[in-house]
Symmetry: C2
Subunit: 420 residues, 2 copies
């Protein structure tokens, strides 16, 4: 079927990643690495685990949707790092791993004694990724930060929404998830460098730097002396009409990128009177009369159903799209066809699905996902793999240093992995 050979497993098979993460950014990073075949050990607080386990609603059969969306292909180790015995376990894991990704409060990991120096001493081959809000230096280096606040700080909020209304935010976590993606890229880069030199490294990333990359085009435009961009709602600065227009039963997104498309648009909607109306004839004029064009065209589109507008525009080769709501997205034929959503077996969520990584290799998505783990699901197994006896595991569990999941087999007959 495909010209290139069938893909094997992910290339990170054999790479062990320790996540000391919470919320979105670090979990996103390690989920990507897990999708490419890495073994990901998620170290969580005993009792509560990752903050995002509590972020419900929205929930899915009682589980936090945020946690479910960001933690497939991982093992969970519940560990009290404030106890020296817990810290010793983490240090042993660091010695035996290839990658450490953490996004705890700035300074929190170093306060445990795990400074970059100590980490390099434990494992000079380690790729140590440290994620923060504002970056490693500067007056705000130590401050915690959240995706929406950094959207405001970095100028994204100032350009989102309608100019006449209040500024808005981007309602998906482009800073947290984006930083997770940059972290995964940094890990691949650092592993390739290590292949060559044998040495690990310390990678630092931040929501602020991720944000500046997102706004790089408008930011450089302002640096070049262009004026501040207006908030244009769904519109574009240089093309009118372009954006979401109301219909009798929803909205359609229309793009008339040149005067020919504008002519076809007017004709398709029986609105020939608009085509050469005063100030409407050329794109340059329409940009100057943005509000008038938008209001006149909206008056036309409001008389049709969404389906009718889409049919007429498509027939007339005017680029357009439904403004789908998320339930429509789930039901959409094209979304189904690309196979982006995959069912995953989950013990407590019968209909569980995840969104695949957005890429295929010779037609196949990266490795098949496993369900996000119950807190502490793999505590016992991981401890035995790093050399603890079942008795030692039980002792740590009794002392509350390690959390074992109710569902975990407390004493399996056959330890696996590199237990010594």
């Amino acid at each position: 079927m495909n010209a290139f050979p069938e893909p094997g497993g992910g290339s990170l098979d054999g790479i062990r990643v320790v996540e000391l993460g919470t919320s979105v950014a670090a979990p996103m990073a390690t989920q990507i690495l897990g999708d490419f075949g890495a073994e990901v050990i998620k170290v969580e607080r005993v009792g509560r685990g990752d903050d995002s386990r509590q972020w419900a609603p929205p929930d899915w059969d009682g589980q936090s949707v945020t946690f479910l969306a960001l933690n497939r292909n991982k093992r969970s180790l519940a560990l009290d790092l404030k106890d020296p015995r817990g810290l010793a376990v983490l240090e042993e894991l660091i010695r035996r791993s290839d990658v450490l990704v953490q996004n705890l409060r700035p300074g929190a990991v170093a306060a445990l004694g795990l400074t970059p120096e100590r980490i390099a001493e434990l494992n000079p081959r380690l790729v140590y990724c440290e994620l923060s809000g504002f970056g490693p230096t500067g007056p705000r280096a130590g401050q915690p930060a959240y995706d929406p606040l950094l959207q405001a700080y970095s100028g994204i909020v100032s350009i989102t929404g309608e100019d006449e209304g209040e500024p808005a935010r981007v309602p998906v976590s482009i800073l947290d998830m984006g930083t997770g993606m940059w972290t995964a890229l940094a890990v691949f880069e650092a592993l390739r460098r290590r292949d060559r030199t044998g040495a690990g490294t310390h990678v630092e990333l931040s929501l602020l730097q991720t944000a500046l990359m997102w706004v790089s085009m408008p930011l450089l435009a302002v640096a070049a002396g262009n004026g501040l961009p207006a908030r244009l709602g769904s519109g574009l600065a240089g093309v009118v009409p372009y954006g979401a227009f109301p219909t009798a039963d929803g909205h359609v997104f229309v793009s008339a990128g040149n005067d020919d498309a504008w002519a076809r648009l007017c004709s398709a909607l029986d609105a020939e009177h608009l085509r050469s109306a005063d100030g409407f004839a050329t794109n340059r004029e329409r940009v100057q009369h943005r509000a008038d064009v938008t209001s006149a065209l909206s008056a036309v589109t409001r008389d049709f159903t969404t389906a009718e507008v889409l049919k007429r525009l498509t027939e007339n080769k005017v680029p357009c799209s439904p403004v789908h709501t998320l339930d429509q997205v789930l039901a959409d034929e094209q979304v189904r066809a690309v196979g982006a959503l995959t069912s995953v077996e989950h013990p407590e969520v019968p209909d569980f699905q995840v969104v695949n990584l957005p890429m295929t290799f010779a037609g196949a998505y990266p490795t098949a996902p496993t369900a996000p783990p119950v807190l502490g699901a793999d505590s016992g197994a991981v401890l035995r793999e790093i050399g603890l006896t079942p008795a030692q595991v039980a002792e740590l569990a009794d002392a509350g240093v390690v959390g074992l999941a109710d569902t975990a087999d407390p004493d399996p007959a056959t330890p696996t992995g590199d237990a010594t």
Copy 2:
């Protein structure tokens, strides 16, 4: 200074990437690869080049800002692929390269004869990345698509903006740039697989799949049976107050994540009367009275300057941020401190700067950037590297099959690279 050794060059040193790209997604992908040390050869149309070269305003000393922001660390080869001699040059480049990234119209590259089968035949070790709007299968597979239209199609527009107003779009190219980031990740993954197996692969990515990953959390929430999310402007579903509030001279972004923070917020702004006002006392109540709380708090913040609100909230440990405009972002001390913006020498843009990749390795950003190339700047050099004589280059240039930049040395004495 850093516990890990000084970083050397990027890990993709020695990897040759051919970009058959236009606009944003493919150029973003290969710019990332170039930042990590790959040699990127950008193949462009003779005469016009990448569409984005014409996307001005905004411009920087006459150059398109979009082009400038997405094409550092690249060489430009202007080539007419409709001419068999031009196609033969591209095929020879494919034979000698490691990666090909293309985002031309669906089917356009195959129409040149470069089907995946032919590409695999030319170079079975090649990582061939094909980017599209809607993905490789399904009823819309062949349709062109643009970032804003796909934001509408994938539900992003439906959740952006104010509920009382029209839906908005995300004003940065999260689908195009995001697909570029996923492509760079896919290339690293495929190169690691090739290190193991010797075989290249065909990677397919799309704006649609990238979009579904961005909305994965709200999408899974709807799949789980939670209702459709409202458009909340700058707000958050589960926390009130949270978002941008007006001041006497701008906006501030405020987050009162719990009732203690709410108490501190009211006290900081001398608004004790709000704290326990009817329906305002607990977060649960405030979520139910979102509009009332927002309007009451806005009336308070409007009486202060932005600086005064930030000072009072910071002193009272209420998480907050200025809603920076982009000129303020450029001037911001923290932005300067993390060194995200770097000056790059450009022959026609004296003050040119770029936004660095958002990560450092042992304290250093990836390789230093070089300026985006003039159209055809490297045509002669690249052709000689793949074995053409200066006479053959001149002949192709005379025939219009190859475009040489005015600034390029037409016949340098010493060919470089792997010329045979």
